[in-house]
Symmetry: D4
Subunit: 250 residues, 8 copies
Amino acid sequence: MNSKELTRLLQSLVDKQISVADGVERLKQLPFEDLGIAQIDHHRELRQGVPEIILGENKSVEQLQAILATMHKCGSNILATRLGADKAELLLKQYPEGDYDRDARTFCLVQKPIEESGRGTVMVVCAGTSDIPVAREATVTARMLGNRVEELVDVGVAGIHRLLARGEQLQKAAVIIVIAGMEGALPSVIGGLVAVPVIAVPTSVGYGAAFGGIAALLGMLNSCASGVTVVNIDNGFGAAFAANRINRKG
Amino acid sequence: MNSKELTRLLQSLVDKQISVADGVERLKQLPFEDLGIAQIDHHRELRQGVPEIILGENKSVEQLQAILATMHKCGSNILATRLGADKAELLLKQYPEGDYDRDARTFCLVQKPIEESGRGTVMVVCAGTSDIPVAREATVTARMLGNRVEELVDVGVAGIHRLLARGEQLQKAAVIIVIAGMEGALPSVIGGLVAVPVIAVPTSVGYGAAFGGIAALLGMLNSCASGVTVVNIDNGFGAAFAANRINRKG
Amino acid sequence: MNSKELTRLLQSLVDKQISVADGVERLKQLPFEDLGIAQIDHHRELRQGVPEIILGENKSVEQLQAILATMHKCGSNILATRLGADKAELLLKQYPEGDYDRDARTFCLVQKPIEESGRGTVMVVCAGTSDIPVAREATVTARMLGNRVEELVDVGVAGIHRLLARGEQLQKAAVIIVIAGMEGALPSVIGGLVAVPVIAVPTSVGYGAAFGGIAALLGMLNSCASGVTVVNIDNGFGAAFAANRINRKG
Amino acid sequence: MNSKELTRLLQSLVDKQISVADGVERLKQLPFEDLGIAQIDHHRELRQGVPEIILGENKSVEQLQAILATMHKCGSNILATRLGADKAELLLKQYPEGDYDRDARTFCLVQKPIEESGRGTVMVVCAGTSDIPVAREATVTARMLGNRVEELVDVGVAGIHRLLARGEQLQKAAVIIVIAGMEGALPSVIGGLVAVPVIAVPTSVGYGAAFGGIAALLGMLNSCASGVTVVNIDNGFGAAFAANRINRKG
Amino acid sequence: MNSKELTRLLQSLVDKQISVADGVERLKQLPFEDLGIAQIDHHRELRQGVPEIILGENKSVEQLQAILATMHKCGSNILATRLGADKAELLLKQYPEGDYDRDARTFCLVQKPIEESGRGTVMVVCAGTSDIPVAREATVTARMLGNRVEELVDVGVAGIHRLLARGEQLQKAAVIIVIAGMEGALPSVIGGLVAVPVIAVPTSVGYGAAFGGIAALLGMLNSCASGVTVVNIDNGFGAAFAANRINRKG
Amino acid sequence: MNSKELTRLLQSLVDKQISVADGVERLKQLPFEDLGIAQIDHHRELRQGVPEIILGENKSVEQLQAILATMHKCGSNILATRLGADKAELLLKQYPEGDYDRDARTFCLVQKPIEESGRGTVMVVCAGTSDIPVAREATVTARMLGNRVEELVDVGVAGIHRLLARGEQLQKAAVIIVIAGMEGALPSVIGGLVAVPVIAVPTSVGYGAAFGGIAALLGMLNSCASGVTVVNIDNGFGAAFAANRINRKG
Amino acid sequence: MNSKELTRLLQSLVDKQISVADGVERLKQLPFEDLGIAQIDHHRELRQGVPEIILGENKSVEQLQAILATMHKCGSNILATRLGADKAELLLKQYPEGDYDRDARTFCLVQKPIEESGRGTVMVVCAGTSDIPVAREATVTARMLGNRVEELVDVGVAGIHRLLARGEQLQKAAVIIVIAGMEGALPSVIGGLVAVPVIAVPTSVGYGAAFGGIAALLGMLNSCASGVTVVNIDNGFGAAFAANRINRKG
Amino acid sequence: MNSKELTRLLQSLVDKQISVADGVERLKQLPFEDLGIAQIDHHRELRQGVPEIILGENKSVEQLQAILATMHKCGSNILATRLGADKAELLLKQYPEGDYDRDARTFCLVQKPIEESGRGTVMVVCAGTSDIPVAREATVTARMLGNRVEELVDVGVAGIHRLLARGEQLQKAAVIIVIAGMEGALPSVIGGLVAVPVIAVPTSVGYGAAFGGIAALLGMLNSCASGVTVVNIDNGFGAAFAANRINRKG
């Protein structure tokens, strides 16, 4: 509800097209729908340019189905993340046109074509083979949000020449998402090589003093390469969401 | 050293303009200068579009002077951050044209005009009065890097109406840096209001279970507003550096 | 055993209605019953106005049955919390009049009518769909203790307008229990909107740097909204118990 | 701005007492005043029933004076907390009618009489002599907010008889604030003795594995006495603020 | 190998009853037996007055059987702790005269009568029903080591009168082992009531901010009752072992 | 107040030597004295066999003087611990017969002769020169409580032969207090050498990952030598207090 | 690609044996092979003297098979670590000449004879029976890398004589890997006994405050025996890899 | 006391050159000297090949002087580390031939020439200017122990080309000590470039989530480059001591 709409609403009140009671009601009501278990926010797309996205984790199949039904009705493109294979199977029965990615653990339901709307390419780079699930979540999310994506896998810092060989490709990206577990050093090296925004994603890959991703998280927060920003451990989705905001035209 | 330069170098070798030994030498040498205590990287500006920036903390006045002297000679614009007032005073004696900001603890030496080169405005928002030093560091840095900056102070979530009153101003920014201590909730609320990139900076403001900024840091990493990225505690500089990368044209 | 009772006891001693040995015995004995595995405290209701409540977690079915049998005999209303569905099933066979709530994981056995005894409404608000189990535990507990309860679900701070639309409803409550995981920012916003007591419950909802609820817990302890108090992670029961104390007349 | 005021505003618009532009303006403007360094919220008293309170920590004397001047002009009662003795001295020169408490580190400026408005007594209990500063902050705050306060000092659990001797006094309070460092066990014992709301305040008293109050904080969050709620380490102010909300009539 | 034995050995050398080579060999060899997977220390009983005790956790059934066989051969009394029920079943088949306690998860094989050798009673006190497994481990261990043991269950600090009723019983013990989870406050209260040694055992009972026993551990380490010593979380065995050392005559 | 006294009190009531009102009063009153800032517990000596001991830390000189005056009047022996040299100097002016130990930071005022009342020797062993202050605090405390004390300094595990040379001396002690910083391994080695009770005291000696004594604390809690109990970091006083309880006759 | 090779390449360019474009291409290309999921680094053996080693954890059987196939083709010796028994079984079907060690969880495929190339013996010492899996991983790795290895098991510090009996054997080693859980004190004692390099490996053996190996890790990092270096918790492989580097001739 | 010496001792006993009592005495006595405050270990040089080294931290000037006097008398070379400038000044007055390094905070007293005894060069590499003090401590220590040392400063990973330019120099070292703060990524990159032993030293350089070196420590422990071992935060001394052991001939 922006200034223009507010002006229009008040004018219609002055023009007696609506009553004072209606005015109060409309000013108090906000554009969301109450399902009891969740408030679907149909206007987020207008407000932020992206569809509502469902965090699959911790939701029962029943809850997922109720939320999906409401969203499906509106014809939106739908993305559910952190969705276990068992839950996905049940959703696929109901929405066979949907697409489930086992690595990314994402479920996509494309109801209207996705336009590539970014200024450039979102580059998704990961340090090791074990980081692939997080990288895939980032890739799927960025594509659903209308970005062109390139992936680069297994270029960890212990074999620095593998990374350096890709220097130019990295320099050309609009945004780079760098995913790494263990000591999480890759964003520091890439951040020093390029001039574009770098979003670092620590992963829970590692053992012992990796503490489920804390070591990588701290490494990235303390990166000696200026300009690296960080998201939560294993949060490929969040990195892609941020990358999309950066890559948007206008 | 990009592909084009490499081609040119090898061609000059083939053309016998340089010897094989020279070629080996030039391929091995990289463009930095060794001061003994620090390696000045004059090519970073070419590589990343920004001047070398000095982290003042933990450096002695002698070290700072040696580094500044080398950089000054090159005519670059210089920014030193986290510089105590006592060290700043000594530098100001030597470079009276410099500018020291007591809040931001930054020292700026502008030797060539700074062009505004960003796509839009960098908005620096902070939750409380105590967060101002970090906000100032972000503002000074972003300006030195060629960005137009606006500041918004004391709009913490406990008085949410103060923030909501600025909704449109926030929506118009190209990037928003959100700075908060204590529970660090402000980026979540702003991240939900706008569609532009949001960089969150936790501050060490607070006491007890604030743990010197850890509470705010964790709050921001776990933001329920998608697309928020985070930098280190009190790292106003890093947030501005990342914002600059996002705001760059091209 | 208050002053009046003590006076009466000593008087009956002076009046030789009881012997010195009896007096010693009665002053030493306290009103609890020893089951070997647990000491049932039948007088807590007198002392604190609420029945003994059983923490189901870590108790075997045999232990639960022994404790329930003793309490059932007394005709008290009984509440067991954190009770797994498998254990609940066995209790329901024995007490088919009991009621098990799968979300809240609570088992209620109402043997005498529950009177609404509070000064006003206890409002239970939760940030996201995943916080519902904790919210339900709070609701069931507060109702068993004789409070009128209203629930408000999925009003997290990333969509602040959903919350603001309920401002008046919040202002009218006698106590508000605010439940949130991830960054746990909701109590700060609500605490700033209302003038009534706010009890914050962090939940273990989240992943990575949410650290099983620590991020939310720290966020709430550092709330910039004064007057927010906090209970343990996922402790819907404790919040309701505290809300009941606040909401009691007299 | 409640429903009634909104109705009145819209009516005056319909009645052409104000223009549409005015209506937009008034709906957009919120009742706070911008000092540059801080946004003074004169309406908080209406909204929450208490004056703006200043957190003295991390504010310069200049900032404090600017904020005080604005608040003083309005004739409000003013409370500044966590104020060092050196800053207090400067404020006292300007406002000699103010009152500085060295233990509590609070500065009070009473411009209009404080009415006792609570339903009962706020009891402030502390475990040891070293907890007195936090207890005093709670006492001063609760009194400034219009509560009758009683204090009980040095009744830690290692000498449990000292506490038990005060059982009746504790039972009669409307709210009890329990302050303890080290293992923070006192709220558990008191929570089991009384039926009124108990707010626990961990203090940073202790050494070694007390970790600046973390041991006490964890102890209180895990209290086996149901109904204990907790505030941040050393947060006597917050406890009193919450106690005031609980103790308010209506 | 004490001074007397050394003197005797050297004398026999001087007396030519043994050769120099034998002397070297005997001084180099120490009284343990190498099983490949473990070094059985048959002399510990002499050195410390107790039999070798087997930590069952992390050992395979094959390893346990090999170790037991060697010890059984020597006719020692054997105690295995932290032994899962499945492993115990296999050992019981081989040693049907053994005794497995499901609560304590201990396996005892008594081959020679245990004499009560302590100066007094070891009292094992636990706060809640959920702490019973740790209490049982302590009780079984203390008895195997030749102590008279009494148990007191469910006397947590939230119902302090239950504990106070047992004051005299506590005062009479030679050593008290106090076991508690959650906030771990019980040792502080008991430590203040009695003059005998108190060994505190934190348990992993609790949830959320109990952090698997850390809250209780910190509570006990910071006990305001002087003279409380602490062992590892859930370490009923270690507490009993220490209590036995304290309770030994001589 | 034990059973015998209670019987006597009730009998005097029956015998009309005291009135009912007196009886109520005496049963309610407990033997402590209220100084406003602290409750002096003159009966602790009866109850626990030791005088009240003052924790000097966090107490002002005024508070210390008030407490000392009350205790001095009673003719008790007095021990103040963790007392800074500056505060000690002021106390020494008032009580020139007192004794201040700069290493231990203890102040002793012996008003009646201390009898050696223990069953044997308390051995105080420390790993390195830097642990001496904690060792001294333990020694002074144990002596004030009536124990014979021996000290053994600088026998850390990195030079294990220095320790082994003292094996017999260690075996002869009644209790051993083992003090170590850094990795805190000494109690494990000593615990394996002797059969007497071992109390481990971690110290804050070390740097980096010593974390102010946490490394040593964890090392001691996880000691592979059974029967080691632990006190708080740097808590030489508490170790001596516990050792005294163990060493007491009867 | 060393200086000599670079010289040769440039010379062949000058000699027109290759074109400028070829030169650019060869200088840009680095010697690794892209499998899509992983970049096999065939030149590591040249660069570091060891074959590529596969971390089995977090890799699917399909990924393992693809990587193994490529490596097998080259005739290298292959070592896969942290490989579950189920995955190993599938690999053994395909490579029946392989060898799987259930304790070490390693899979070895020896295609060309392993020469013993070290300067001396790598000694692998572990404190307890539960540490054997980590010790075995170290042993298998060190042997695959061409070292002579000796193992010493169950010589923890609580029975120090068992260790001292092996003093000479320890002194003769070229490198010692010391593996311990719980308090991790063994490296301190061994580090004080010998003059050779000691690599400490903390294990996750222990419970409660062992925190999955953190206690042992901290113990080792703070070792009072100078010259001890540490690797990650349970990282037997890494310790052996480092030992191999130390033990290499040349 | 090795086997040969033991044989000789026993033989002299058999030969009646010494008495049995003497034999017992000599076997019991070990070669250290007791200063009361410290046990000087003159035989460590024989046992480990290095002189006793004094940790200056936490020692008073008096203690330092007593220890130095004893060591000086023996003509050993002496190294004191972590010595504040004020203490150093006092020692220099007494031993003007000593050498104090302000960066390294080391005091060296060379009484007999130091022979270069290593197999190769110890390379000391540090990431940034702020790491220099730790690097210097490593350099001074390694030289005192008889190693040839080279230093390489300011080659952090954010400017990876600066490091790569030194590839050959790194490859030629016998051991590399890599020192870095912040995210501590440098050892991972160097570990991947070279085949020699790499010892990583985290430094406390950084702020916020660097947590005084914990981020760097965790980064190094989780290094994806195999064969990196780690020492305590800021422990340049320990790294050099370990490097010396690795670099020793024989």
